[in-house]
């Protein structure tokens, strides 16, 4: 392995791998991606992996997600089958009083071109007959879908490697400093130098930022998921709270707890989640649950992605966000533009770390 690169990306989750892949496509950079574990061992490997747009608000944030979702079919043609399916997304509501909110959402999203329909109970059940007859209605959009996160990240890494990008796994970054204008990244396996540095550490972004003297205002949020055995085809859409994977497993979960990096499954949340599964899809009561898992989500303090240059750190960049699966094709594209050309086709000003005003010192 070399010692010196044009770009070092720290973190090989869905965001870091996508950046490495898209950068490698530009054929203009020598790239090293370093991960303390292995791709999929963190947040990106413990997700339902919806590609979800329709009720992301405000509309400008929904728009960003829409652009990214639109990139998936093209991405798949380049890196291979990631089991991306534009199933359409259904977000059911159980009370008629929610219809007004739903209509308002549809109106707002229409302004940026996201088509959201507000469905009656009968319309929902026609689309998705397994849903409970107790629902009052749902918002629906055909832009939503899902992807196999295991395939997605594996293929990002494979494609990037094919383009010459290097990866170093099970290699914890211990220190970052600047030497003669270059970043010096010290890891448990050695020292590496680069001109540009991208922090893509997901929930670990905060501690990475500390190495540069920068506060990255994110929280860790645990989400617990239950997974059934593979079932005969039951759900055809991505439902707000669950989906059926290609292999027939149904993944259910919608919990959030702030418990740091604790990834245990607790019976309290698992039981709530099982109840929710049956409330949404009564037939699931007969399904066998095979496993549960939990993931630590990244949650920027205001909820929106942190993307772009790190203020005060020349040639330092950050990409930390919730919804990394949905956003990864677009984020990889935009970060590549930024690192290669210095400007992006979508203005990232609103997503800059600057908005938090939390720079402590220049590392």
């Amino acid at each position: 392995m070399k010692k010196s690169y044009d770009v070092i990306v720290i973190g090989s989750g869905v965001v870091g791998s996508s950046i490495a892949y898209h950068l490698s496509e530009s054929k203009s950079k020598e790239i090293l991606t370093i991960d303390k574990d292995f791709p999929l061992s963190g947040t990106s490997g413990s997700t339902q992996a919806w590609v979800w747009v329709h009720n992301k608000t405000p509309a400008w944030y929904g728009e960003l997600n829409m652009y990214s979702a639109e990139l998936y079919p093209f991405l798949e043609r380049k890196i291979g089958d990631v089991e991306y399916k534009r199933t359409g997304g259904i977000a059911p509501f159980f009370s008629e009083s929610d219809r007004e909110n739903a209509l308002r959402l549809a109106e707002k999203q229409a302004e940026v071109g996201i088509k959201v329909e507000v469905l009656s109970r009968d319309e929902v059940l026609e689309k998705e007959p397994a849903l409970s007859h107790n629902i009052a209605g749902a918002t629906y959009s055909n832009i939503d879908g899902n992807v196999n996160p295991f395939r997605l990240i594996e293929l990002y890494v494979r494609a990037a490697r094919k383009n010459g990008a290097e990866f170093s796994f099970y290699n914890q970054v211990i220190d970052i400093s600047k030497e003669n204008g270059m970043f010096k990244v010290t890891t448990q396996d050695g020292e590496y130098f680069s001109n540009q540095l991208v922090l893509a550490g997901g929930p670990w972004s905060k501690s990475m930022g500390k190495l540069l003297g920068v506060d990255v205002p994110i929280k860790q949020v645990r989400g617990q998921i239950i997974v059934t055995e593979p079932l005969s085809p039951l759900l055809t859409h991505t439902i707000g709270g669950m989906r059926q994977a290609d292999n027939g497993e149904v993944l259910v979960g919608y919990s959030k707890e702030e418990v740091g990096y604790d990834r245990r499954s607790t019976l309290d949340i698992i039981q709530d989640t099982a109840r929710m599964a049956i409330d949404f899809v009564p037939a699931l009561e007969k399904a066998n649950v095979v496993r549960c898992f939990s993931g630590i989500r990244v949650m920027p303090e205001d909820g929106f992605p942190i993307l772009g240059e790190i203020p005060g750190i020349e040639n330092g960049y950050i990409a930390a966000m919730h919804s990394g699966i949905t956003l990864s094709p677009l984020v990889g594209t935009l970060m590549t533009e930024l690192l290669v050309d210095g400007e992006t086709s979508i203005d990232l000003e609103r997503y800059s770390l600057k908005r938090f005003n939390t720079i402590q010192s220049i590392g």
Partner: protein, 107 residues
């Protein structure tokens, strides 16, 4: 085959009952697991694996390997090594993924 004369254990005095496998009537002893009752009738293949469609049957008999799944009284994927056979029980091979919408709970 049932063991009628066990070298150590006393005479088997368990009552005989009838159950069905793929609609065929079979005999079992009270207190036997479904898996054992099928083996007693010479049936070893309980179903097929989901990817390669290879034959599967009893493997660990301890409720841990899940190779012995069967459909029992309308419920798919019942662990047959740890479920007791009952009079009149209707048991079917495990040939496909469970269909949770089938039967009485359909909404």
């Amino acid at each position: 085959m049932h063991i009628t004369h066990h070298p150590v254990l006393k005479k088997d005095e368990r009552k005989e009952i009838k159950f069905f496998f793929n609609d065929e009537p079979l005999k079992a002893k009270v207190g036997q697991s479904i898996a054992a009752a099928l083996m007693a009738n010479g049936i070893k293949k309980f179903g097929v694996s989901r990817k390669l469609h290879q034959s599967r049957g009893l493997f660990c008999a301890s409720g841990r390997c899940y190779s012995c799944f069967l459909t029992v009284d309308g419920l798919d994927h019942v662990l047959s090594c740890s479920t007791l056979v009952e009079e009149g029980m209707e048991v079917y091979s495990n040939l496909s993924d469970p269909d949770v919408r089938r039967g009485k709970n359909e909404n």
